[in-house]
Amino acid sequence: MGVQGGWPPAMNIVVLVKQVPDTATERKLSSDDKTLDRAASDGVINELDEYAIEEALLLREKHGGEVTVLTMGPDQATDSIRKALSMGADKAVHVNDEALHGSDALQTAYALSRALGRMEFDLVVLGSESTDARTGVVGAALAEYLELPQLTLAGKVDIEGRAIKVQRLTDYGYDVVEAQLPAVVSVVEKINEPRYPSFKLIMQAKKKPVEKLTIADAEIDAAKVGLANATTETVDFAPAPPRAAGTIVKDEGDGGTKVADFLAEKKFV
């Protein structure tokens, strides 16, 4: 726990986490409603969320304050909450309601914005995308719903007083983006190295408060969430084709040319 009541005032940071199917296992959609088949693979915390948690913990260590985990998902999402609390977050809020099933990225951002509306925070931190849907838009959409500045793809975060400055990673390097708190920051994995939970924190995690919210509790409009009201639709899906055998280039004096031709054919160069 950081310094409370000091100056500058301690920061309340909310970290968004998401339980996703383990990328190491085979992931499936269920055939009846074309949503994720959660029973088909083990759930784990979204990898980039660990970086978001680490960044929130580092900011708490530096500025004081509290780190709250916010997740939206079914019962199994408690695994991800526990992981976040084991890393050192102080408490959690779990929005769990059958009506949320099948919500798309926009609806998720709306629902999260409602939950955040009940909370006091200076900063929202999240991973820049999840390993399942990979839309990468929740952070931006959330900032719009909250009418807050968005600082996405952050590789470095600095806060001084109420000013936040991030290095936003780009293909050519980074841009420096500045805003005033409160703000929404999405992070990339270059930002830090997430810590491993210690056993002490693992054991403390079960004693930390986890607030459970239904959509009614969070004042989420049922007509704006769920599969039936989704703004996007999964029309069809098929299993990924098995990986084809690679091409082996034998160097008979012209290996370089062949590799270059191959790359050109695949439009890499």
Binding site: S198, F199, I202
Partner: protein
């Protein structure tokens, strides 16, 4: 009957599993080849709190239990035994005697650093002339002018010569009992004490990234307050430490045995002969099935011993059985795994060759397999 691990134990197990795979596996082969001590890995293990696992928070520990330590050892040894034994010795032999038998002053001085993993402690029991026969101890500690004057040599002492080693607790003869048997006590010697020198670094068959040295005491003087526990109780204290340590070594052995299964499964799905993956041949399938069965049954044996110990029940026989069964499993599995790998199994670039070299000591250290059988026979009431 309770089934499975508690949520906290399972989460710890998974955390160490990930750590071993991501932080240890990619780099340990190089340390092993060079016979170098992996300071950076040990530091990371320290930051995770692994060295403080079974100790209360007031001493800088994690407030866990000995079973938590065993789970961590198993997961580390699935990837590498050198780092696992460094943790095992650091906790069970370095810090545990001080926690269990030390004075408040000794605990306050040493435990926080040992629990953090920033410092390592060692336990000096074995001598050139014997190991488990602690009664044959030749090292002496004479009380002179309020000090102990220690003379003797200790062999095969793990963690005793690293840059972060801060102490060694040695058993020494401090007098003679009424029945003529030697009185043995445990005495704490800080690193750097004049007269205490770290002798030769051994050239070992396995555990090459762990630190093992001979220790020499030549008129080494420490204050009388450095006695650990009661005078004359050194032998009895050491027996308790060894009983626990057997469960830890069993856990480490199970990890190695399971690591052999992991590697063999991977290779069996990859390697082809005569147009088939070798995993499709029954000869390989049966080998791997036997390996899995050995690892599994040995795991149950150490879980049982650990749960008895934590419940405060007698566990001497179960610990001996676990150590015997698990070290057998490690030895057999490492032999089978190298066979599955064929020529590559003989190459140090594959982990199974390292497992093969690391397995043998498990039938020797913390009581040989013969000593375990002796203990089991004694517990069964067979005449001595």
């Amino acid at each position: 009957m309770p089934h499975g691990l508690s949520t906290e134990h399972e989460e710890l197990r998974r955390t160490v599993e990930t750590f071993a795979r991501e932080e240890v596996a990619p780099v340990i082969g190089d340390y092993y080849e060079r016979g170098a001590f992996p300071y950076d890995i040990v530091a990371k293990m320290g930051r995770m709190g692994l060295f403080g696992l079974p100790f209360p928070e007031e001493h800088g520990g994690m407030g866990g239990d000995y079973f938590a330590l065993c789970l961590a050892l198993e997961e580390l040894a699935r990837v590498d035994s050198s780092v696992a034994i460094t943790l095992e010795a650091g906790v069970s032999l370095g810090a545990m005697p001080i926690y269990r038998f030390g004075s408040d002053e000794q605990k306050k001085t040493w435990l926080p650093r040992l629990c953090s993993g920033e410092a390592l402690g060692a336990f000096g029991l074995t001598e050139p002339g014997g190991g488990s026969d602690a009664g044959a101890t030749r090292t002496t500690a004479r009380p002179v002018d309020g000090e102990w004057v220690i003379n003797g040599t200790k062999s095969f002492i793990t963690n005793s010569g690293t840059d972060i080693t801060v102490l060694v607790t040695v058993t020494a003869v401090t007098g003679e009992r009424d029945n003529g048997r030697p009185e043995i006590s445990a005495i704490l010697v800080p690193a750097g004490t004049p007269g205490f020198s770290v002798g030769q670094k051994y050239s070992k068959v396995g555990w090459n990234a762990s630190d093992t040295n001979e220790l020499v005491f030549d008129d080494c003087r420490v204050p009388q307050a450095n006695l650990v526990g009661e005078r004359g109780r050194g032998y009895a204290q050491f027996l308790r430490i060894l009983d626990e340590g057997r469960i830890a070594i069993a856990a480490l052995s199970v990890g190695l045995a399971q690591g052999c299964v992991d590697e063999s499964l991977r290779y069996a799905a990859e390697r082809e002969t005569f147009g088939k993956h070798i995993g499709q041949y029954q000869a390989i399938q049966f080998k791997i099935a036997d390996m899995e069965a050995r690892a599994h049954t040995a795991r149950l044996a150490y879980y049982d011993a650990a749960s008895r110990m934590l419940a405060g029940e007698p566990f001497k026989k179960q610990a001996a059985i676990a150590k015997l069964a698990a070290s057998n499993a490690a030895m057999d599995n490492s032999r089978d795994a190298t066979q599955i790998f064929g020529g590559y199994g003989f190459m140090n670039e594959y982990p199974v060759g390292r497992f093969y070299r690391d397995a043998k000591i498990l039938e020797i250290g913390e009581g040989t397999s013969e000593v375990q059988r002796m203990l089991i026979a004694r517990e069964l009431g067979l005449p001595t």
